[in-house]
Amino acid sequence: MGSKRARLLPPLIVTAAFLLLWQAAVWLFGTDAYILPSPSAIAKQAYDSAPQLAHHMWGTLRITLIGFGAGALLGFLIAALLHVIPWVKSGFYPLLVLSQNVPIMAIGPLLVLWFGFGMLPRVILIALVTFFPVAVAMMTGLSKSDGRLFEYMRMIGASPSRLFWRLELPGAMPHLFSGLKIAASYSVISAIYAEAIGSDSGLGYFILIAQHGFETVKVFAAIAVIVLLSLALFGVIALAERLFVRGGSPRGKEGSRS
């Protein structure tokens, strides 16, 4: 357990130093709060608006989880499908990449136009952003299964479906989780964006209103909550990785500098 505390220490020190520096700079230069509030002012604001922030956070969390879940599932299915049927991969892969080149600023309002102000356009937007890193990471993982294990499985007569479920998929798990971690961060950001364009709740909406009133402290308080939300989501996925990716994979296989 001691090593765990030792690992947590450096980021804590760096974060604390950063906040102190920020506090000192604001105080020293006498910066106006509507331009850049100090960390202590943000903390106080967060405390004062806690009920409001909590309400909006739940809204954000809900569509983030739904959108992320849908996107991850979509990414997983697309990767599996493209891997199993090679001609589908060559046909659709460019289309997948293309889907990421459409700016969400353009697609967001269109989705609202097509699907109304309900939850659907927001979920679609998040899923659209999150499926991609999952699909790409997972496809890489699937196509990189160990050649020796592959040969062994074929020699003893494993069927294509056995090859997929018992070799390729477990082998791709570490890749899948890297994809999920990236997608988790994306999903929070795109949820905020989606709420800013077509919603009457959520942290994105909260920020929008605060900005209109030049309440920069409130904007920062919301940002702090968003950061914590992202970290929590990331942490949950890292935890799931530890639980599901068993045996051998990371430990000692790759070289490490420390």
Binding site: E151, G157, P170
Partner: protein, 257 residues
């Protein structure tokens, strides 16, 4: 004696491409492996032994000739052999026991029976402590024991072992030979074995087939006369040393080349 594996007039030629010339690997190879017989292929590196295994396993098609396993045509069909590759090839995300169970279920054994078999045999060979461990904590020798056990327990009639000990150090290799010998002698299976080690071949086999360099054909067949059960004491036997010299001379590269 009925034969479990029969290879008739087998030839293999890899079609060339623009960068690589066509290569004839096997030329008219015929042999068979009887029920409960241990047959070893020995031959120079690159003579096509692994290619032969891949054809028996159904991963590669012969250019000419037939292969039958247990009386049925096996050309291009998979799942008729138990296999032990050069490297242990255990799934790193499965425990030792689960690795064995996986191979057995692929071979068609029910889940529960596979588990019982794996547990029972791991205990029988003194590896019960490893049953719930992941392969990467095992030494190379231990991994190969698991790999052999996995092949031995598979229900297919023919076991194909492709240089299973070549990645091990000399001492571990000797222990493994003795271990495999005793295990196999008390559980006779039909085995086709590939090795580069003449001593290993003489210690383990009933018959040794000597392959020429590519394109490989069988240039000699040696019937190993020692009675079973055998032990490592054979290494000092006069006949053993004579046969070893004879095989060694046969495998010496052609001095005219």
């Amino acid at each position: 004696m009925s034969s479990v594996l029969e290879v008739r007039h087998l030839s293999k030629r890899f079609a060339g491409s623009r960068k690589t010339p066509a290569k004839e690997v096997l030329a008219d190879v015929s042999f068979q492996v009887g029920e409960g017989e241990f047959v070893t292929l020995i031959g120079p590196s690159g003579s096509g032994k692994t290619t032969l295994f891949r054809m028996i396993g159904g991963l590669e098609l012969p250019t000419e000739g037939d292969i039958s396993i247990d009386g049925a045509n096996a050309v291009g069909t998979r799942g008729h052999i138990a296999y032990m590759p050069q490297q242990a090839s255990l799934m790193p995300w499965l425990t030792v026991s689960a690795n064995i169970e996986l191979s057995l279920t692929i071979a068609g054994i029910g889940k529960r029976e596979a588990r019982a078999l794996a547990r029972d045999w791991l205990a029988r060979v003194g590896l019960e402590a490893t049953a719930h461990q992941y392969p990467d904590v095992l030494s190379g020798g231990m991994q190969q024991r698991v790999s052999f056990l996995r092949a031995l327990l598979s229900p297919q009639k023919l076991m194909c072992l492709d240089e299973p000990f070549s990645a091990l150090d000399a001492l571990t290799r000797q222990h493994m030979q003795a271990w495999l010998l005793s295990l196999w002698e008390s559980n006779r299976r039909s085995v086709l074995f590939v090795t580069h080690s003449i001593e290993e071949a003489l210690l383990l086999s009933d018959r040794i087939l000597v392959l020429s360099a590519a394109p490989a054909s069988i240039i000699r067949e040696v019937r190993v006369p020692f009675p079973r059960p055998r032990s490592e004491a054979l290494w000092g036997d006069a006949e053993f040393i004579r046969l070893k010299q004879e095989l060694y001379d046969m495998l010496r590269p052609d001095p005219t080349l």
